[in-house]
């Protein structure tokens, strides 16, 4: 992996990102509108390298690992590309077309999040700083 020391690092960073996103009123509302159970699957970089976000029922819950229920949407990619994606440095359409991101299920909810990617990237940068990982921020 280019950005991560081991498979636990990206999950720590992404869970912290969602914790901070919940505190941002605009992003929190945006996430609730997604209204899906999403599994972010980075297991190509390690068997425990994944997390899920449950945006259903007006709540946002982010947890380590694969959800017990069947996810509405699964996004499989590398942890490095996930880092680029949350940093708004990876065009998601291009990544899907070139099979860097494999998607299973309905991406309709996710489209609602697409306009907020700049905001996500800003919060992600702040999150990495809080964690002492400024060096991972992509210029």
């Amino acid at each position: 992996m280019e950005f991560w020391k081991d498979e636990t690092e990206p999950i720590k960073a992404f869970l912290a990102l969602f914790e901070n996103a919940k505190k941002d009123p605009e992003l929190s509302e945006g996430l609730k509108k997604v209204n899906q159970l999403i599994w972010f699957d980075y297991t190509e970089d390690g068997p425990n390298c994944s997390f899920h976000v449950d945006c259903r029922n007006g709540e946002i819950k982010a947890r380590v690992g694969k959800p017990e229920e069947q996810p509405d949407l699964t996004m499989s990619l590398s942890a490095d590309d996930a880092h680029r994606s949350w940093s708004n440095k990876l065009n998601p359409v291009m990544a899907i077309t070139r099979k860097k991101i494999r998607v299973k299920g309905s991406a309709t909810g996710l489209l609602k999040l697409a306009p907020k990617l700049k905001r996500v990237a800003s919060i992600y940068g702040d999150t990495l700083r809080e964690m002492g990982w400024e060096g991972k921020i992509i210029a």
Partner: protein, 626 residues
């Protein structure tokens, strides 16, 4: 040749005669079908001097080789003619269910010439053809025309019809298939109206279709259909229609607002996007024949000023043209406006754009109350637009109806003043609902170089700039930035070639995004026995692109006409593309260089003509050029 019927139906409405025209095999091989073959047929049989609405003009309906296959996206076909809106060569494409039925009936297309003395109906049952009088249908909207014809002939008959706009020769009149799918662009409904051809009804008794390599074809079609079913992007389209990503488009600056004066309107984004349409008004999804994508909408609005019975709903272009473009975020109004336009037989893009121009003209004082006969034109006043303005245009009523029925470019010329500065078009065709400043700078180039004018389906450039295309087999692995002009001429070379192939094979630009370049070659070979490799196929695409330019040159189109309105090139005032300019002249210069186009005539060089086997006997093109 397999995959084709080998014959076009010829109809002369002046003499009332019908017959067959059998293009030679090499015309199919060299120009495929659809828009490409229609251009070749026009070159051989058309009258370059004829006014688009004169009896001598030809109206050509042309199928691609895949019409009749049970393949997602294959049920489109082309209509082509000299456009009454733009004055030069034009084609338009339509989905629905007519194309496979025409193939099953035994035809690759229909060539209509002459003009009848009375409203006429063309009735096709397999190879049997009749021209009937249909005075009772003249003046009827498309909904009732379709309903009457289905009642009279049977529900299984497929229909093509024009509405009052086509009868009244409105320059952006459309032709509708079964009231839900349109040959929207370039005013071909007016050409049909000038021939007094109200409708065509069609039925094939057998559903047979012969291909070159049935076994491989079946396997490939099955693979492609499965992929269309599983595709995440097509799944989004199925769920929320072609407006599924309108919200995202607003944030990119792609969706035009108030006649392209703004590139961002946040509240509108969610109000008009596809998921909102699904939540509020969607009754069911609908599809073109054999298509797994099902991006069409059937909607119903129970109450309010724009209440609507169950019926066809708007797609993206209509939602934007009668929403954001007119300063409205009333989704119900877009549904109503779309339905009214469909019934009257108007292209929603040109209609919305012409209305947008009129509102700005009124706002700026170039049109006054005396011009509008007391009608006040305001952004977002959808009631006036739907109840007054659209019918005035379709029936050419009053000074305003007569003015706007000519389209925005002619209307500006007649109005004078500074009103030309806020027309938004290329070669006289109003721009579709993708603003190149946010949607992608390459779109400005492909709007400009398109033979038909500003059109988003002339090529897949929109998809290429958003990142939805990856064709390493032909060297297209560029990662394009929509907000930059870098690499766009190189991308446009690929785009115009693929666009010519798509529009000649008559494949849907949504559904065919899942088809790889090697699979395109396989499709042509398995269905029609083309025996092509990738370069043969790409050369055919380029040949068609060049032919369309040569025909346009005969209509007087030159390099100076390969431009878009200034408004599309001025740096955006707001939104994601705020302040970013488009380097149009440099993109065009480089594209001309790459395609070996003459900087004055805009036509291909002698060498290109020779290399692409375009030295065509009987054509005056070469003599004119050299």
């Amino acid at each position: 040749m397999k995959g084709y019927s080998g014959r076009f139906l010829k109809v002369d409405l002046g003499s009332g005669s019908t017959g067959f025209y059998e293009p030679p095999d090499d015309h199919y091989r060299s120009f495929i079908g659809g828009a490409g073959l229609a251009a070749r047929i026009f070159l051989e049989n058309g009258d370059f001097e004829a006014d688009p609405l004169a009896p001598e003009s030809l109206l050509i309906f042309s199928l691609g080789p895949f019409a009749g296959l049970r393949l997602s996206g294959s049920s489109r076909f082309s209509a082509a003619a000299r456009s009454p809106l733009t004055g030069h060569w034009a084609d338009s494409s339509c989905g629905g269910n007519f194309a496979p039925e025409l193939r099953y009936a035994g035809f690759d297309g229909i060539i209509v010439s002459g003009a009848a003395d009375y409203p006429s109906l063309l009735v096709i049952k397999d190879l049997s053809v009749k021209i009937e009088s249909c005075q009772e249908l003249w003046g009827q909207g498309i909904e009732s025309t379709t309903s009457i014809l289905k009642h009279r002939f049977g529900q299984s008959f497929k229909t093509l019809a024009i509405g009052p706009a086509g009868e009244n020769l409105v320059k952006f009149a459309c032709i509708m298939n079964d009231g839900h799918s349109a040959f929207g662009r370039t005013g071909l409904g007016a050409v049909m109206g000038s021939k007094k051809l109200k409708a065509i009804v069609l039925k094939a008794s057998k559903k047979t279709f012969y291909v070159q390599d049935p076994e491989n074809c079946k396997r490939l079609v099955s693979d492609l259909n499965n992929r269309a079913k599983e595709s995440v992007t097509l799944g989004v389209m199925r769920e929320n229609g072609t407006a599924a990503n309108l919200e995202g488009g607003v944030h990119l600056g792609d969706v035009p607002i108030r006649n392209f004066t703004s590139n961002f309107w946040e509240e509108m984004a969610e109000a008009l996007t596809g998921s909102t349409l699904s939540e509020k008004y969607l009754i069911r999804r609908a599809n073109c024949a054999f298509c797994n994508v099902a991006c069409k909408r059937v909607v119903q609005i129970d109450d309010g000023p724009f209440a609507l019975s169950k019926g066809p709903g708007p797609e993206y272009e209509t939602i934007a043209a009668f929403g954001s473009l007119l300063g409205s975020m009333d989704l119900a109004a877009t549904c109503k406006a779309g339905r009214v336009c469909n019934d009257l037989g108007l292209d929603t893009i040109s209609c919305g754009s012409t209305v947008a121009w009129a509102i700005e003209a009124f706002e700026k004082g170039d049109l006054g109350l005396s011009d509008t006969e007391g009608l006040k034109l305001k952004w977002g006043d959808m009631r006036t637009i739907i109840e007054n303005l659209i019918p005035l245009i379709a029936f050419r009523k009053g000074k305003l109806g007569l003015l706007l029925a000519e389209g925005s470019v002619s209307a500006a010329k007649r109005t004078g003043g500074d009103s030309d500065s806020y027309t938004v078009h290329a070669k006289g065709l109003e721009a579709p609902m993708h603003d190149p400043r946010g949607g992608g700078h390459g779109l400005a180039l492909t709007y400009a170089i398109s033979h038909r004018g500003a059109c988003h389906v002339f090529s897949p450039m929109l998809f290429m700039e958003m990142g939805a295309c990856y064709y390493p087999e032909i060297g297209f692995d560029l990662e394009l930035d929509p907000l930059s002009s870098d690499n766009k001429p190189e991308a446009a070379v690929v785009a115009v070639t693929l666009g010519a192939l798509e529009n000649s094979a008559c494949m849907c630009q949504f559904a065919d995004r899942e088809i790889t370049i090697p699979e395109w070659v396989e499709l042509f070979n398995y269905v029609a026995g083309m025996n092509w490799d990738i370069e043969d196929m790409m050369k055919t695409g380029r040949r068609i692109f060049y032919l369309q330019r040569l025909i346009n040159h005969r209509f007087g189109i030159c390099a100076k006409d390969d431009v878009v309105s200034r408004r599309l090139l001025a740096p955006a005032a707001d939104g994601a593309p705020e302040g970013i300019g488009i380097n149009f002249e440099e993109m065009k210069r480089r594209f001309y260089e790459l395609m070996d186009l003459d900087s004055i005539s805009g036509s291909p060089s002698r060498q290109v003509i020779l290399d692409h086997d375009l030295v065509i006997e009987k054509s005056l093109v070469m003599e004119d050029l050299f």
